[in-house]
């Protein structure tokens, strides 16, 4: 019989991490994601799987504890919300420079500054374009359901170790707080220390006689060598762009108009597609699941098919820049966003699409 439970998004990813064989969680309370730490503590993970959970003194300390654990080859994670993720950028950059795998969760709230505790998607640029210093990318997964919050813990760890990269789950206050049913899978055992030494030959686990020292550092003062390190990183990001793009299309086969949205906004647009179809408007939805790598090719393919693309974001328009890069000017692309922690309603976004592309007829097909 399937193990199905009613859970909050934040609880689901915590449970997902335990079952994915996570070794360590280091975090600091901040609304709207504190349930992650609370759930892990309440679940006595040390007794259940041996997973270590530690409440750090700050988000800065949390991310550097993750940096230490990751360097030693363990499956480690942290979670926070926007202001806390800003504090973590230093450690994330160090992990980018040392190519360490880890799972990061941002349950995004409205900003800038202390902003609000309500849901937002205004941290897209920070997550996707590199929030810390230096040239780097993370794999960014955007869950649109509590089930995906659960699923992306395991997927995130697997992608992180496959590519030795940081994986961020870019959620928001709505997905983190809302409750939905979640289908759970079996617990995957944690790696033993012996398995880690064998699999992750790069990890700093103590120098034994049969190998060279493992040094985890992002420093090389020789610019020629530093450029080589950077080119290697870039090659890895290009490979990820080729192989790890994930997206979902909903009623796009015959679509004349297209919503592009991720996360909570995609849930709103999914309903708007239903409303539109009921009115006879042939509208579909493209939902990017990976924000890096972004589904540029699918955006371009659909751009050739539709008469207009309506981006919906809980921000002033950040993902739309990637959509426009994919569209390459083939068709009109419009932004509509709510700010400061407000979630748009399905009829609201459908109305915007109709105003922009059907009633106003301001855009004609250019191909």
């Amino acid at each position: 019989m399937k193990d199905v439970r009613l859970m909050k998004g934040n609880e689901a990813i915590a449970e997902g991490a335990i079952r994915a064989g996570c070794d360590g969680y280091f975090g600091y309370p901040i609304t709207p994601q504190s349930e992650v730490l609370e759930y892990l503590m309440a679940n006595k993970t040390k007794e259940r799987t041996g997973m270590i959970v530690l409440q750090a003194e700050s988000e800065v300390a949390s991310i550097h504890m993750v940096y230490g654990g990751a360097a030693a080859g363990k499956r480690v994670m942290t979670s926070s919300s926007s202001p806390g993720i800003s504090l973590m950028q230093e450690g994330i950059s160090f992990m980018a420079g040392t190519e360490l795998p880890c799972l990061l969760l941002n349950v995004v709230r409205g900003g800038p500054g202390l902003g609000t505790i309500q849901p937002s998607q205004a941290d897209y640029f920070q997550a996707v374009k590199g929030g810390g210093h230096g040239d780097y990318k993370m794999i960014v997964l955007a869950p649109a359901s509590v089930q995906e919050m659960y699923d992306f813990a395991k997927l995130g760890f697997d992608l992180a170790f496959k590519h030795r990269i940081q994986v961020m789950v870019l959620s928001d206050g709505a997905i983190g707080q809302m409750m939905e049913k979640v289908e759970l899978d079996d617990e995957r055992p944690r790696w033993t220390d012996e398995e880690i030494v064998k699999m992750h030959t790069w990890a700093a686990t103590g120098k034994t006689k049969n190998r060279e020292r493992n040094i985890i550092t992002s420093l090389d003062l020789n610019p020629v060598k530093q450029e080589i390190i950077n080119r290697k990183l870039q090659a890895k990001f290009r490979k990820i762009e080729e192989t790890e793009v994930r997206f979902e299309t909903i009623q796009c086969e015959d679509a004349e108009y297209l919503f592009v949205a991720y996360g909570s906004s995609a849930r709103v647009c999914q309903k708007a597609v239903q409303l539109g179809r009921a009115k006879g408007i042939k509208v579909g939805l493209l939902r990017p699941i990976t924000l890096f790598p972004f589904p540029y090719k699918e955006v371009k393919r659909l751009a050739k098919q539709v008469k207009g693309i309506q981006c919906i974001e809980m921000s002033a328009g950040q993902m739309i820049e990637d959509v426009r890069l994919g569209v390459e000017g083939i068709v009109g692309v419009e932004h509509y966003g709510r700010l400061g922690g407000i979630i748009p309603a399905p009829d609201e976004v459908l109305n915007v699409l109709e105003q922009n592309f059907i009633k106003a007829k301001i855009y004609e097909r250019t191909h």
């Binding site: 070794d23 360590g24 280091f26 270590i52 530690l54 750090a56 003194e57 700050s58 800065v60 300390a61 949390s62 550097h64 504890m65 993750v66 940096y67 230490g68 654990g69 990751a70 360097a71 030693a72 363990k74 480690v76 230093e90 450690g91 160090f94 220390d193 700093a204 686990t205 103590g206 120098k207 034994t208 006689k209 020292r213 493992n214 040094i215 985890i216 550092t217 992002s218 420093l219």
Partner: protein, 257 residues
């Protein structure tokens, strides 16, 4: 009788000193006269004598000793400025049976990393912190540090540290010794043979206590920075004895009951 040749002298029975095998062949990047080299050697000598190489993970700081991993023949990780105690916490929590230490300077540990230092100490993390205090930011070129003495001249206090406007030097070692999570806290120096012997004993204790899972051990090494202080090595050692030691007195600060 002819004078003995080099080969005659270089016999095992004549050996009074040899290089620790856990120091790599890389030439030290420290200024001649600096105490870092001796501190590196002592730590590696103890790790070697206790046969801990395979169980040791070191954390290097930002500062002059950022390249400690070039010289210590062990697995090491380089931490962001001040964050070494958090990094070491992450490692140690996941590998409770490994020997985990940080090696940090005063700017790293007592300014930008004050939070990480105090909380790692207060949690009683079972790690060892080696703290080299020379009262100055050496690597960036001699700026004022949290431990710079009153009236001491640095490149950012060119007329001397004015405590009215620049604050007082921070005795962080005394501060963390007051926390219940620290087990053994000691302040040493490595500028004379006698002091080297005492410092080595403190290092041995700090490592032994970690093996016994006693909590955080903290060994400060008050050292010179002849380049930053703009003195000869000998003068800097003399200045250290006359000025640093009265403010940062040597000896054990917290010992197990």
């Amino acid at each position: 009788m002819s004078a003995p040749t080099r080969e005659d002298i270089c016999q095992l029975e004549n050996e009074v000193y040899s290089r620790t095998t856990l120091l790599t062949p890389a030439p030290l990047s420290y200024c001649p006269g600096c105490g870092h080299g001796t501190a590196h050697r002592l730590i590696m000598e103890v790790v070697e004598e206790m046969n801990l190489q395979a169980d040791t993970i070191g954390v290097a700081p930002v500062g002059c000793s950022v390249l400690a991993y070039d010289f210590m023949d062990i697995d090491m990780q380089q931490a962001a400025h001040g964050r070494a105690p958090a990094v070491a916490t992450g490692i140690k929590r996941l590998y409770p049976n490994k020997f985990v230490f940080t090696y940090q300077g005063d700017g790293d540990l007592a300014a930008i990393g004050t939070g990480e230092t105090i909380h790692a100490c207060n949690r009683g993390e079972n790690i060892t912190i080696f703290f080299v205090n020379n009262g100055i930011y050496g690597m960036t070129g001699g700026q004022m540090a949290p431990t710079t003495l009153p009236n001491m001249k640095t490149s950012t206090s060119p007329f001397g540290r004015d405590v009215e406007t620049m604050g007082y030097p921070l005795k962080i070692t005394e501060l963390i010794a007051n926390l219940p999570g620290t087990y053994f806290v000691s302040r040493q120096s490595v500028h004379t043979a006698a002091n080297v012997r005492k410092a080595k004993k403190a290092i041995e204790k700090a490592i032994q206590y970690q093996k016994l899972k006693k909590g955080l051990c903290f060994v400060e090494i008050v050292s010179n920075c002849n380049s930053g202080w703009k003195m000869t090595p000998l003068d800097s050692n003399k200045w250290m004895e006359e000025n640093m030691f009265p403010f940062y007195p040597l000896g054990d600060i917290k010992v197990p009951k």
